[in-house]
Symmetry: C2
Subunit: 334 residues, 2 copies
C-alpha cells in the first residue's frame, strides 16, 4: 500500500470529485492494517466526514439462493433509472468457515457494474468480520462523500453480519422465498425482529400464488412481534428480480419510511446511536491491537500459552494478569 | 452479592462436594460484575480448574418451536437413566431485542429439574451476550468440578450465540423439524456448517414419513459441504422428544464421536483452542471495562460524545485519541 500512497488531500479531493479510481484506492487505504496507512486513513475520513451522510443506507440480507445479487442488480438499476447514484458494498462473514464469494465474483451484477451511475465494491478476501464491518462503515461514508445517494450493503451469514449491518444502515431488508408448508419454520427469529421489511423474491410464473400466500402469512406473523421503538410496522412485499416487478413499490416503501422517520426524529436518533457504537467498536479494535503488539505482552503470552492450552493455568486469571501488565507498563511503549 | 459471600475455600470445597446450593452461589459469583466478586471468582476458578474437564459438553440449538426444552428434558432423562449426571445451562441472546424466556421459565423441564442427578441453571435476565457466554463457560467448569459428566448448553438466537456456544462445547447439535417443500430454504447456512449433527424432532405420528424424508434430504445435502478438519461427517438423526424415541441413538452417536475424536487427537486439540479463545475473550472484556472506568477517559468521553453523536467529530480518530489517552495515562489509575 505505502508505495502507491497519495497525499491526504489528494484522497479527499479525488473522493469529493467522484473519481472512482481514487475512491477505490481510498477504500483500500481504510482497509489496510498498516499503522502508517491507518493514520492517513483517519485524516482522510476526517476530511470527508462533513460531506458524508447524504444517502439512504439500505442493508439487504437473505439465505443463499434467495437471489440477492439478482435483486441488487435489478433494484440498483431501477434506482439509477430514477436518477439515483448507487453504491453496493458487502459484509461477508463466510471467510470464517469457508471461502465465500459474496460480491467477490466479478461476473456477478454485470449490468449494474458497467453502469456509470453505480459503483460496486467487492468484499476483501480473507478478512475477519469485526474488521470488515468497521471498514464497510468507512467505505460507506467515502461513497457518500463521492456523491452516491443510495448505499446498498449486502450480507449473508450466521447472524453476526446481520447485526453488524443493522448497526450501520437506515433500513434493513430481508429477502425471502415463498416455500410450501410452515412459513415460519426456518426463519431466524432474530432477523425478523430487526428487519424493517421482508421482500418475497421470485414472485413470478407459477410462484405468484405461493408468494402472495407467504406475503399474507408473514404480514400476519409480523403483527405478533412487539411494536418497534420508532412506530414502524415492518412491511411485506413481493417482487421478481428477474422480471423486474415490484421494485418500484419497494423503493416507495423505503422513501415513505425515510419521510416518516425524518419527521418523528428517529432517523437522526438512529444515526447518532450508530456513530456512538462506531466509536466503541473502533476503541475495542485499537485497544486489542495495541495490547497484542506490546513486546512485554508478547513475551508473557509466549510463556503462558502452553499452560493455558493444556488447562493447567486459568484463562480468566491470566487474562487479568495480561491486562494488568499492559495497563501498568504501556507507558512509552508503542 | 458481597454480603452473602463465602470464602474462596468454602466455594471450592462446596463445589467439589457437589453441594448444589454452593454450586449455584458460585455461578452467581462468577456472573457478578463487582470487581471484588470477580477477584474471588478468579481464585475459585483457579481452585476448581484441576477438577474440571471430565464431561461431554453438548451444545443444542434450533429455532423457536422446534421443541428444545422438551428435547433437553427427554434427552436429559435418558442420560440420567444411564447413570450420567447432567447439567443444563443456557446462552440466551434474546435480551438484546426483547425479553426471552430460555430456561428462565421455572415451569419448564419440571421432570428433569426435580431429578437429583440433574442440575438446571436458568439464564440470568437482562445480561448481554459476550458476558453470558464467558460466564457460561465458567459455569460449565464449575458443574464439571461438581461431578456432572454431561453438560447440555441450550441456545437460540441470531447466530452470535451459536458461535459462542460452538466455541465452548465438544459436540454441537442442531434440532430441526421436517417441513414440506424445500428442506434447505430457511436453514442458516452458517449453522449447518458448524453443527456435528442434525436431529429432526417430532418424528412421531403422522410426521414420521416427513421426518424420514427430511433425514434423507439433509444427509444428502450435508455431503455437499467441505469435509471437516476432524474427519467427521455430520449425521442426521430423527427423534420424538415427546414419545422418547430415537434418544439412545443420539447418545450413541455422540459417544462414538467422542471415541473417534479422542483417538485422532481432535478432542484435546479443540479444547486447547477453546481455552486460548477464552483467554482472548476475557482480555477483551477486562480491557474495555478498565478503559471505560478510567476517570480521564470518562471525562474526555463526556466532552466528545455530543460531537460524535452529531457527526461533527470522526469516530475513528477520536477512538485512537481515547486509546492513546488510556495507554499513556493508565499507569497508577484503577
Amino acid at each position: 500500500m505505502a508505495k502507491n500512497r497519495l497525499s491526504v488531500s489528494e484522497y479527499i479531493q479525488g473522493v469529493l470529485h467522484s473519481d472512482r479510481v481514487i475512491l477505490s484506492r481510498a477504500i483500500t487505504l481504510v482497509e489496510s492494517t498498516l499503522y502508517s496507512d491507518q493514520l492517513i486513513a483517519e485524516k482522510v475520513m476526517e476530511g470527508i466526514l462533513p460531506y458524508s451522510g447524504n444517502s439512504i443506507r439500505i442493508g439487504i440480507t437473505g439465505v443463499p439462493g434467495v437471489g440477492k445479487s439478482t435483486f441488487i442488480e435489478s433494484f440498483g438499476k431501477a434506482l439509477v433509472d430514477k436518477a439515483h447514484k448507487v453504491a453496493v458494498l458487502a459484509v461477508d462473514p463466510s471467510s470464517q468457515q469457508s471461502h465465500g464469494s459474496i460480491l467477490g465474483d466479478k461476473t456477478r451484477m454485470e449490468n449494474l457494474a458497467s453502469d456509470k451511475r453505480a459503483y460496486i465494491r467487492p468484499s476483501p478476501a480473507g478478512s475477519n468480520l469485526g474488521g470488515v464491518s468497521a471498514r464497510t462503515r468507512e467505505g460507506m461514508l467515502l461513497c457518500e462523500a463521492a456523491g452516491f445517494d443510495v448505499i446498498l450493503i449486502e450480507t449473508v451469514g450466521v447472524g453476526q453480519s446481520e447485526i453488524a449491518v443493522k448497526g450501520m444502515v437506515d433500513f434493513f431488508l430481508l429477502l425471502m422465498l415463498a416455500g410450501a408448508g410452515d412459513e415460519l419454520q426456518g426463519i431466524k427469529k432474530g432477523i425478523i425482529e430487526i428487519c424493517d421489511a421482508m421482500v418475497i423474491n421470485k414472485a413470478d410464473g407459477v410462484n405468484q400464488d405461493a408468494a402472495k400466500n407467504a406475503q399474507r402469512e408473514y404480514a400476519n406473523a409480523l403483527h405478533l412481534f412487539p411494536e418497534k421503538q420508532n412506530g414502524w410496522i415492518p412491511q411485506v412485499k413481493t417482487c421478481s428480480a428477474v422480471e423486474k416487478t415490484g421494485l418500484d413499490e419497494i423503493l416507495e416503501m423505503i422513501m415513505g419510511y425515510r419521510e416518516r422517520m425524518l419527521a418523528n426524529g428517529y432517523w437522526d436518533h438512529n444515526r447518532s446511536e450508530q456513530r456512538i457504537n462506531w466509536l466503541h467498536e473502533h476503541v475495542r479494535y485499537l485497544l486489542e491491537k495495541r495490547l497484542y503488539q506490546n513486546e512485554k505482552i508478547k513475551n508473557h503470552l509466549d510463556q503462558i500459552l502452553p499452560d493455558i492450552r493444556s488447562g493447567r493455568l486459568s484463562a480468566i486469571a491470566k487474562a487479568r494478569e495480561l491486562v494488568d501488565l499492559f495497563t501498568e507498563k504501556s507507558k512509552g511503549d508503542k
